[in-house]
C-alpha cells in the first residue's frame, strides 16, 4: 500500500472511483420478497417438528393453585403439557438489570410462570402438539385453579402505601428512579415567564405484521441447538440461549432469516420464546412458536406509557432560561432482559431540552412496576416523549411571550459553529446542524406562505395548524449504552469479505436486515471499497455460525457501525488482492487499483487483469506464485465508535393539518422532515426510513393506544380495535438532508432509523394545538383522538 498523497485519496472510502456511496441503488434482497419467496420463520418446516401454544393468564395478577392437564393429554395430536416448575429444570430465570442504571431492580423471571401470573397474557403452561390447531385445542382443555390477587394497574398510585407490592421480595413497586440537576434552576424560573404543561403518552406497541416467531431445534447427539428466530440481534440471543439453557455458546446457532418487521420489538428476551427453546431441548425435537395477533398484543413489549409534568421559563427576548421535568412511567411487572425497562425513562432525562443552549435543567423520573404487559425499548426509545415535552413547552412559551415559535427555536438552538460541545445533561455532541436544518425546513415548507394561508382559512372557520419539532437522535451507540452496565450486547460489529475464484465478493456481516436496507448498504460499501460492481457482491447476514461477531440491527447502528466495518474490510481485501495482482503483473501493488472488478493502473486506469483471473491463479495455480508468498483473498475488520459514546444526529420536522372542531377529526395535509445523518449512503433508503418512522410516530400521536381497564385487562387486543396508521389517513412526507459526517469513522455515516419517530408526535401535537389556539385550547395527550380533542374543546365530557 502506498501512503503517497497522489494515491492516498483513492484509498479514502468517500473518494473511490465508481462509488456506490450516495446512490439510490435497489436492495439486493428484495426480489425474493416481491415474489413471496422469502424465508420467514413460519415458512420453515423441519422433520419431527411440533408446535407449542401457551396457556395464558386471564388475570392481571393471580396465584396458580394447580394445573389440571388430564383432559389435554387425551386430545389427538397433543405431545406434552409442561408447566413452569418442570420447564425451570431446563431453563434458568433471568433478571433485567444493568449496573449503570444504579439501583434498578427486578424480580427473577421464568420462561413459564411458576407461582403466580403478573400480567394478563403471561404464560403459565405450554401445550405441545403436532399442529398449532391441536395445541390450541389442548390449551382450551387445561384447567388452571386461580386465586385472584390485588392488581396494580395505575402507575400514579403504584408507590402509595396502600397499594399492594407485586414482588414482596423487592420491598416496593419502585423499579428505578433518577434525578438530575444542572445550573441554577430556581433562579432561572424566578427570572422569566413560566409555562407549565402536563403531558401523557399512551402505551402502544410495535404491531410487527409478522408476529414474533421462533423455531428451535435441538440435536441431542451433539448437544447442539439451532434456533430460527425472527429477531434483530442473533449473537445476543445466542448468548442468552446458551446461558439460560446451560449450553456452550458455540453449541448454539441462531439463524435470523427474513424478518417481517422489528422496530425494537424483536430485540428482547421473551419468556415464551425461551420456553420454546427449552421445550426443544426437553422434547429433543424441533418446536415452533408463532405468536397469534392476540398474543402479540398481550406479550410483545409495550412502550411509551409516561406521564411528564414539564415547566419552562422564558425571557421576554425569547431566551429559554430553565427547563424542569417530572416523569413517571409504569413498566409492567418485570424489567425486560437484558436491555432493561429503565432506558426509556433514562433517555427522557438525557434528551429533554438537549437541542437548546439552556443550561438550567432539573429532571426526575420514577419507573414503577404494575400488572400490565412489560414495557421496553421500541423504535426511538424515549425520543418521541422528550421531543414532545420539549417542543410542546417551547410552543407554549412562545405563545406566552407572543413570539413566533420558529423565532424562539432560532434564538435557542445550539449554534452550528459551537461544536464539539456538551449538553447540560452531559451528552457529547460532535457536530450538529440545527440551524441549517431549520432554515432548510422553513424554506421547504414555505413557512410564511403557510402562515398566511392559515390566517386566511381561519376567517372561514377552518382550523389549520403548523407544528414544528426540533430534536436530536442517539445513533451508533458504543458500549456505553449497554455493555458498560454488564449486558452481553455487542457494540462492535465485524465484516468478513472474501474473493471467490470468479471475482465475486462474499460479504458476511454481524448486522442484520429486517427491511431497513442494511444489506443494500453493506453491498454498496463493499462494492465501493473493494472496487467491484454491486451485483458481484453477495451479502450474508444473521447466522451466528457464519457471520463475524456483532450486535445486529438496533439503535440506528447498522449503516454507521456495520458499514464502517465493511469499508475497512473492503480496503483490506483490496490490498490483499493487489498484492497477488502485483506479483502476477510484476508491478508495485501501490501503483494498482481495482475498478469495476478489474485491476487497473492507478494513474491512468489502464486495464491490467480481471479479478476472476486473480482468483483463478490464486486458488488453482498457486504453483505459479513465488514460494515465499501466500495469497490471502479474505479480510475481516471490526469497528466500534471510539471518539464519542454516541453519534448524535439532529433533525427538524413540521406538520400541517386541519382539525374539524365539530367532529374532532384531524386531517394530516403534509409533513416535512429535514435530518442530518452524516454521510448518506443510499438516499432513497434513508428517506424511506424517515418516512416509515414518521408514520410510526404519527401512529402514537393520533391512533395507537393499548387500552386497559382498572383490573389490568387489555381492552383492544386485535387489529380491529387497536388503530394503526393506514394508507388513507397518511400524508405525503417531504424529506431533505443536511450532511454533517462523523469523524469517528471514515465513512462518516450516522444512523437514520429512528429520527422520523422521534420528531413526528411532537410536530403533530404542536400543529393540533396551533390549530386550536384561537379557541384557547391546548391538549398534550397522546394519542390525540377525536374524542379527546372534543373533550378538550368542551364539546363532550372529559375522559
Amino acid at each position: 500500500m502506498s501512503d503517497s498523497p497522489q494515491h492516498g485519496h483513492l484509498h479514502a472510502i468517500l473518494d473511490r472511483p465508481n462509488s456506490y456511496i450516495g446512490r439510490s441503488v435497489p436492495r439486493p434482497n428484495v426480489r425474493r420478497l416481491l415474489q413471496g419467496r422469502g424465508s420467514y420463520v413460519d415458512d420453515i418446516r423441519l422433520p419431527r417438528m411440533v408446535h407449542v401454544a401457551f396457556v395464558r393468564s386471564p388475570y392481571a395478577h393471580a396465584r396458580i393453585n394447580g394445573i389440571d392437564t388430564d383432559a389435554t393429554l387425551k386430545i389427538p395430536g397433543v405431545v406434552a403439557v409442561v408447566a413452569g416448575a418442570e420447564l425451570a429444570e431446563y431453563c434458568t430465570p433471568w433478571v433485567g438489570v444493568l449496573s449503570h442504571l444504579a439501583g434498578l431492580k427486578s424480580q427473577p423471571q421464568h420462561a413459564i410462570a411458576i407461582e403466580k401470573a403478573c400480567w394478563q397474557g403471561e404464560a403459565v403452561a405450554a401445550v405441545v402438539a403436532e399442529t398449532r390447531a391441536q395445541a390450541e385445542d389442548g390449551v382450551d382443555a387445561v384447567l388452571v385453579q386461580w386465586t385472584e390477587l390485588p392488581i396494580v394497574a395505575d402507575m400514579e398510585t403504584a408507590l402509595d402505601d396502600q397499594t399492594p407490592v407485586i414482588h414482596p421480595d423487592l420491598g416496593d413497586n419502585l423499579a428505578w428512579q433518577r434525578t438530575f440537576e444542572a445550573g441554577d434552576v430556581d433562579a432561572a424560573f424566578a427570572a422569566g415567564t413560566v409555562v407549565e404543561e402536563e403531558f401523557s403518552f399512551g402505551r402502544h406497541t410495535g404491531v410487527t405484521v409478522e408476529p414474533r416467531a421462533i423455531l428451535s431445534s435441538y440435536e441431542p447427539a451433539e448437544g447442539r441447538l439451532t434456533v430460527h428466530h425472527s429477531c434483530q440481534a442473533p449473537h445476543m440471543m445466542q448468548n442468552i440461549f446458551a446461558t439460560h439453557l446451560g449450553l456452550e455458546e458455540h453449541d448454539v446457532r441462531v439463524i435470523c432469516g427474513d424478518v417481517g418487521g422489528s422496530y425494537g420489538i424483536k430485540v428482547h428476551t421473551y419468556a415464551d420464546e425461551m420456553a420454546t427453546a427449552a421445550l426443544s431441548v426437553m422434547l429433543r425435537r424441533p418446536v415452533k412458536f408463532i405468536a397469534d395477533r392476540l398474543e402479540s398484543f398481550l406479550t410483545d413489549i409495550h412502550a411509551r406509557d409516561h406521564r411528564v409534568k414539564g415547566r419552562m421559563a422564558i425571557a421576554d427576548d425569547g431566551k429559554i432560561l430553565g427547563v424542569e421535568i417530572d416523569d413517571l412511567t409504569g413498566i409492567g411487572p418485570y424489567s425486560v432482559y437484558p436491555r432493561t425497562s429503565g432506558i426509556e425513562a433514562n433517555q427522557i432525562v438525557n434528551l429533554t431540552g438537549a437541542q437548546y443552549t439552556c443550561g438550567n435543567y432539573r429532571a426526575k423520573t420514577a419507573v414503577v412496576f404494575q400488572n400490565k404487559v412489560p414495557m421496553c425499548q421500541y423504535r426511538a426509545v424515549g425520543h418521541p416523549i422528550a421531543t414532545a415535552v420539549t417542543e410542546g413547552l417551547v410552543d407554549a412559551a412562545a405563545a406566552a411571550i407572543g413570539m413566533d415559535p420558529i423565532d424562539v427555536r432560532r434564538r435557542n438552538l445550539i449554534p452550528d459553529d459551537a461544536y464539539p460541545c456538551t449538553a447540560a445533561t452531559g451528552l457529547s455532541f460532535e457536530g450538529l446542524s440545527h440551524h441549517r436544518a431549520l432554515a432548510r425546513l422553513v424554506e421547504l415548507m414555505d413557512y410564511d406562505g403557510l402562515r398566511a394561508e392559515q390566517t386566511r382559512l381561519r376567517e372561514q372557520g377552518i382550523y389549520r395548524g403548523i407544528g414544528v419539532a426540533t430534536f436530536i437522535e442517539l445513533t451508533n451507540p458504543s458500549a456505553m449504552f449497554y455493555g458498560v452496565g454488564g449486558a452481553r450486547i455487542s457494540a462492535q460489529d465485524g465484516c468478513t469479505l472474501r474473493l471467490d475464484a470468479k471475482g465475486n465478493v462474499i460479504c458476511t456481516t454481524g448486522v442484520t436486515e429486517q427491511g431497513q436496507g442494511a444489506e443494500a448498504v453493506m453491498a454498496q460499501v463493499t462494492a465501493t471499497a473493494v472496487g467491484v460492481q454491486i451485483d458481484k457482491v453477495r451479502i450474508i447476514t444473521g447466522d451466528t455460525d457464519v457471520v463475524p461477531y456483532g450486535g445486529g440491527t438496533w439503535a440506528s447502528r447498522a449503516a454507521g457501525i456495520g458499514g464502517e466495518a465493511a469499508a475497512q474490510a473492503g480496503k483490506a481485501l483490496r490490498e490483499n488482492i493487489l498484492k497477488v495482482a502485483g506479483i502476477i503483473l510484476q508491478a508495485e501493488p501501490g501503483t494498482l487499483d481495482i475498478r469495476d472488478g478489474r485491476v487497473v493502473d492507478m494513474t491512468d486506469g489502464n486495464d491490467r487483469i480481471g479479478l476472476d483471473e486473480v482468483g483463478r491463479i490464486a486458488y488453482y495455480r498457486a504453483d505459479t506464485l513465488p514460494k515465499d508468498f501466500q495469497s490471502e483473498l479474505v479480510a475481516t475488520r471490526h469497528y466500534v465508535p471510539k471518539l464519542y459514546p454516541f453519534a448524535f444526529t439532529n433533525g427538524v420536522q413540521a406538520s400541517w393539518l386541519e382539525v374539524d372542531i365539530e367532529t374532532g377529526f384531524v386531517t394530516l395535509l403534509k409533513h416535512w422532515a429535514v435530518e442530518d445523518c452524516g454521510t448518506v449512503i443510499n438516499p432513497q433508503l434513508v428517506d424511506e426510513q424517515i418516512r416509515g418512522g414518521v408514520v410510526q410516530g404519527i401512529g402514537g400521536a393520533l391512533f395507537e393506544h393499548c387500552l386497559y381497564d382498572d383490573q389490568g385487562q387489555l381492552l383492544n387486543g386485535s387489529m380491529m380495535d387497536y388503530l394503526t396508521p393506514m394508507a388513507a389517513e397518511m400524508p405525503d412526507i417531504e424529506v431533505a438532508h443536511v450532511v454533517t459526517p462523523t469523524k469517528d469513522s471514515e465513512l462518516g455515516a450516522k444512523g437514520a432509523g429512528e429520527a422520523g419517530t422521534a420528531g413526528a408526535p411532537a410536530a403533530v401535537l404542536n400543529a393540533i394545538n396551533d390549530a386550536l389556539m384561537p379557541l384557547d385550547v391546548r391538549l398534550n395527550i397522546h394519542p390525540a383522538t377525536p374524542e379527546r380533542i372534543l373533550a378538550a374543546l368542551g364539546t363532550i365530557d372529559g375522559l
Partner: protein, 161 residues
C-alpha cells in the same frame, strides 16, 4: 376425530386434491399443505391484508376463507402471479422505488394493487390510498407504495410523463 373434507381446487393452474380439516383456513392450507408460503398470516381476523390471495378472480383474505370453501374454485397466489409475469411491472417498480421494507405485507399489497388497476386504470393518489386502506404496512409509511402504483398505472396507460 377431527372432521375432514375432501376438496379439489385449482391452485396457480395446477389441480390439487386434498383432504383438509374442516376448520382449516385457505391461507393455512396454502402455506402448510401446499408449502406456498408467500401468502402471509398477520392478524387472522381480516384486518391486515397480508394473506390476500385471488379466488375465482377476486382478491380475498385467505384467513377469512376456509380451505373447504375453495372446493371447485380457482386460487391464485403471489407465487403463481410471479411466475406468470402478470405482476412483473409492479414488482420491478416496487423494487426500484423501494416500496417494501420487511416484505411481509408485500404479496398482499401487490395483489391489491393489481386489483385496483384492473378496476381503475387511472387512480388518483387518494384513490390509491383508499384502495390500500385494508392492507397494513408498518415499515414504509405507504408513500413509496402509492408512488410505485401511480407510476405503474401511468406506464400501463402508455402515458409518457
Amino acid at each position: 376425530m377431527e372432521p375432514m373434507i375432501d376438496i379439489k381446487t385449482s391452485v396457480n393452474g395446477t389441480t390439487v386434491s386434498a383432504r383438509v380439516p374442516a376448520r382449516q383456513t385457505l391461507v393455512d392450507f396454502l402455506r402448510y399443505h401446499l408449502e406456498l408460503t408467500g401468502s402471509h398470516v398477520g392478524c387472522e381476523h381480516g384486518s391486515c391484508g397480508a394473506c390476500t390471495i385471488r379466488l375465482d378472480g377476486d382478491i380475498v383474505r385467505g384467513c377469512l376463507v376456509l380451505a373447504a370453501q375453495a372446493d371447485g374454485t380457482e386460487v391464485e397466489t403471489i407465487e403463481g402471479l410471479s411466475d406468470s409475469g402478470e405482476l412483473a411491472d409492479l414488482q420491478a417498480t416496487f423494487r426500484t422505488r423501494n416500496a417494501l421494507q420487511c416484505g411481509y405485507c408485500t404479496p398482499g399489497m401487490l395483489l391489491t394493487a393489481q386489483a385496483l388497476l384492473a378496476d381503475n386504470p387511472a387512480p388518483s393518489r387518494n384513490e390509491i390510498r383508499e384502495y390500500l386502506s385494508g392492507n397494513y404496512c408498518r415499515c414504509t409509511g405507504y408513500q413509496a407504495i402509492v408512488d410505485a402504483i401511480e407510476s405503474v398505472a401511468t406506464a400501463r396507460r402508455g402515458v409518457t410523463s
